[in-house]
Symmetry: C2
Subunit: 587 residues, 2 copies
């Protein structure tokens, strides 16, 4: 976002008091992220949506029309930036922005992977238009790869021409993470061509280097990847920081890594100047429970970072990394007037959020009026499967009396081990076995495949007929798990008819259903309702025996082809480390 000549002219005149400012904030304690100070007795004036003056007295900028905000007993800080996140599932992007803005978010860097996977180039365009309808500034990272790994995944794809075209959009900040980073260390020419295009335009490349070490971590940096949000311990974080990565410490819905990463870094006394706080995605139920970037900053303070340092890591540092520090990330002349009023600094209590000098949230509520979605009707998830799905479609045939099946054995909410389990084949089929905590999983291919891909999971601990979700990273296709072929078919039909969603079915009865009618990605309902429903799904799964805090997420990540060890996609069972498809039946 470049400032035009007229705006600059106006700002200069406003700084000098020759034209009057639109807004003056007075009486607060200013968080100066440039100098790292908390300053009393500073006034800030705003003109044309940007800061035009910061200093001891903005009296000269005050006119009759100038609004005055008395920030006495409050702190004035730059608006918070979530420098790596995803706003493409569960809720409409607009609604997630509505959820975040009362918690101080004024900008975020979001990938549009979900939209791309579901709709290709059209999806990226729809995303750009959707987020432009909300005042929170969204800087979009386009997908480096769709599918993430063409060997293993089945999604919409992108041509080089499409990537080149969308990269030229000024709303696009750069290239999003490729989770299959082995493709980078193996020098995949398609990815390198896209990185090349991106760098030629002076744009950046976000990384995802989970588990990479030493020479591989070096190779990914050499490939121009300039950040990573995947450290899960101090060693990871330090290795990335030392290799020049802008090191993103994550505390979000899917993972909470801050304590394990930040504390050791602080213990080692490293320079915090290239640390960035991110959520990597915050689901609506978690926003209700914890907040958004305010929560991340608060957690960082609890881990020992000073409040000002923590705020820098959520404002100035991400702005600088993104090449946006003339626009956002601090309160200085020329910058967009995006700021928060904090009722308390230590606990990062956000009282009000302003974007471009306009109040956009107050006392926990967005003041932004709802707008219709940018998504047209009829965008539901479609698979190649003909409806209705029958129980028979859910059967895994096996003529032998017994079989050895590969099982995704959950060791925690996201990681699986590959186990081979011997099972009986009663009536010529292999069934789930609740007593052995063995549930069947069916993944429906969106493009071809007239039979689902089947797998088994162990460790979910849930006694339920069927649980289905069309949110599953980064496949976003229909995945149903369960113990009953009838319930699984019912659940599948339910979700396919709704165009996508999450649902629990047991003994022919719908326990819960959340429709995600846009590509199976998200609901169009208000974020709080979606959050409540998601929380209810998780609770039901827990009540039915699931050992994890967020059991649904175990299913959402079953398709994630870079997490250890055995995963499932529309292409088959995937051995992540080996980048290979393996059959369900072991020898």
């Amino acid at each position: 976002m470049s400032t035009d000549k007229e705006t600059i002219q106006r700002l200069i005149r406003a700084s000098m008091g020759e034209v009057k400012s639109d807004l003056v904030v007075t009486g607060g304690r200013l968080i100066n992220v440039y100098s790292g100070e908390v300053l009393d007795g500073m006034e800030m004036a705003v003109s044309a949506g940007r800061v035009c003056y910061v200093g001891p007295s903005a009296e000269h900028t005050r006119g009759e029309e100038t609004r005055i905000i008395d920030a006495r007993d409050r702190w004035v800080a730059p608006g918070f930036i979530d420098a790596h996140t995803h706003i493409g599932h569960f809720c409409r992007p607009f609604e997630l922005l509505q959820a975040y803005v009362p918690h101080g978010a004024t900008a975020l860097m979001a990938s549009c992977d979900e939209h791309t996977v579901a709709f290709g180039l059209t999806g990226m365009r729809l995303f750009l238009d959707e987020v432009a309808s909300h005042p929170v500034r969204v800087y979009t990272l386009i997908s480096m790869a769709a599918p993430q790994d063409p060997l293993l995944c089945r999604t919409e794809s992108l041509s080089d021409q499409e990537v080149a075209e969308i990269l030229r959009d000024p709303r696009v900040l750069g290239l999003g993470e490729v989770v299959s980073w082995l493709r980078l260390t193996q020098g995949d020419p398609d990815l390198l061509a896209r990185i090349d295009m991106t760098r030629e335009q002076g744009k950046i490349v976000h990384g995802h280097t989970a588990g990479a070490r030493d020479r591989r971590l070096n190779a990914i940096a050499a490939a121009s990847v300039s950040s990573c949000h995947e450290p899960i311990n101090g060693e990871d974080a330090l290795a990335r920081l030392r290799l020049g990565y802008w090191t993103m410490l994550r505390e979000g819905s899917f993972r909470q890594d801050l304590e394990a990463t930040l504390k050791p870094l602080l213990g080692a006394g490293v320079d915090a100047g290239r640390l960035i706080l991110v959520t990597d995605g915050m689901a609506p139920d978690d926003v209700s429970a914890h907040g958004h970037m305010d929560h991340v900053i608060r957690r960082a303070v609890e881990c020992g970072l000073s409040p000002v340092r923590a705020i820098q890591a959520a404002t100035l540092h991400p702005a600088t990394y993104s090449g946006l520090d003339q626009d956002i990330g601090g309160l200085a002349p020329g910058r967009l007037a995006d700021f928060v009023l904090l009722d308390d600094l230590e606990t990062v209590r956000v009282g009000a959020t302003f974007i471009g000098g306009e109040l956009v949230a107050e006392d926990g509520e967005s003041r932004v009026a709802a707008v219709p979605p940018s998504f047209p009707d009829g965008m539901g998830l479609k698979t190649a499967f003909r409806l209705p799905v029958t129980a028979d479609d859910m059967r895994i045939r096996c003529e032998a009396p017994r079989a050895r099946v590969r099982v995704m054995d959950l060791v925690n909410q996201t990681i699986t081990r590959e186990r081979v389990v011997e099972v009986a084949c009663a009536g010529g089929v292999i069934s789930a076995d609740v007593d052995s905590d063995l549930l069947k999983v069916a993944v429906f291919d969106r493009q071809e495949g007239f039979s689902p891909v089947f797998g088994f999971i162990r460790g979910l601990g849930t006694d339920i007929g069927a649980v289905g979700t069309t949110v599953n990273l980064d496949e976003y296709t229909l995945l149903v798990a369960g113990s009953s072929d009838y319930d699984m078919a019912y659940c599948a039909n339910l979700l396919l008819e709704a165009g996508g969603g999450a649902a629990l079915v047991d003994k022919g009865r719908i326990l819960q259903e959340i429709p995600f009618p846009i590509g199976g990605l998200f609901s169009l309902e208000p974020w709080r309702d979606v959050g409540r429903e998601l929380a209810a799904v998780q609770q039901t799964l827990r009540e039915r025996g699931a050992a994890f805090a967020k059991p649904l997420y175990a299913l959402c990540f079953l398709t994630f082809v870079t997490l250890p060890e055995l995963r499932i996609t529309g292409r088959g069972l995937v051995r992540a480390k080996e980048r290979e498809i393996v059959p369900l039946l072991a020898r």
Copy 2:
């Protein structure tokens, strides 16, 4: 400098050990500017001129052809960056780079103001070509304005088309300082148009905000100026840092501000993450005496900054500010292999300098072979004046018996006060008066003006017939001061015949002469010779009574139209603050 696809591919393979590296540095203590650590036991490998590996063992990258540098007992640091400097006077740019490189300089951000003032667009192009002939990476800032202030100055000028054209050159980093910053706060449309062009191309605008405070300092930041190297005390520095300026602390030939700026900042405990060390120009005699960026870093350490922090302020910080941190400023994979070996950290003793993995300087000597200048013959300074200049041309006529003249009264080496002094007009002319320390100054217009502009200075304290220089900021025309009309004319003829230079003449005898045949800007001789000659000029002036350490600089700055109070240019006597021309004779 964008890395091409083939280089990235090669770097990845080199990181992985699939192709062997060109160079491995082993055994040294690595200065990690990202984490702020000094690390033992790290090896660094280089391929295709860039770092491909940093870590505990580069064994896998070693092949038969790999050169090994044993850095035992030494420190390995990123090459030093002088983020705001001038290499357009006294010496040929190439020679100044030769001077700096043994002191650890591997990159610098230099304006080409001098070349622009003398030769317009042609000068900028010649500068770009000249600096490209040396391995030190020069990122050029083009002139925002030529003349700096058209009301007050007389130099070559630039059209908007020329600025637009040269801005597109990839070697151009952005727009250089406009010393007449009042033009910015007054919203000069020409300057704003150029800033607009610059920002549209994603380039940066260096500032010069000497003496600006509060609302004016705000207005300049609002105009998109993103740095300033002009703080001369802690208050200045803090004000700039707080307003979002990348705050450059200067220690160079013309000014030494580090002690006055850095110490108070450290005392205030501010965040050093946006501090940058610069020279703003280092003359060859000072390089011989003190060094270059090694000297600045050393001085910063003496002022209390830790060595690693000081090195960050001369490496990573300027690279980040300049949007170049994927290329320079740190030793991480993908970055250019520009580094120094330090024999001692505390005293910043540079043993060797490498650029792109190649040794370019060792033990205080450049290893870069001389190349012919990019400047064609016949580029000497020309004025509109017909040769020879006669003593008669030097006379200031006055019919009255006495006159009241405006005098530039030097209060220190650069600042003047305006005084009105009553003088006798013997024989119908106003003469210099050595007894009253009153010297005459004549400035020759390069474009028209068949008579020089005259003025008087007091406070130089020198008893000399004539001292002349064609290096005078930012006019770069012929300026001669002295007590004797004959010597002044002789000196003028000498310098005009040489195409420019600096010279001392007394009683018809040449005491010293340094020819600057390229536009009157610089010598083509080796930098050490020029430095020796400059030092001799300064010494002679001191021996003849001058009170200042570098008396010649007092004359070099007489033309600088934004320093208080009274200055002189080809247009006349200038009241800096009022931006007005005043007559020599007061009422």
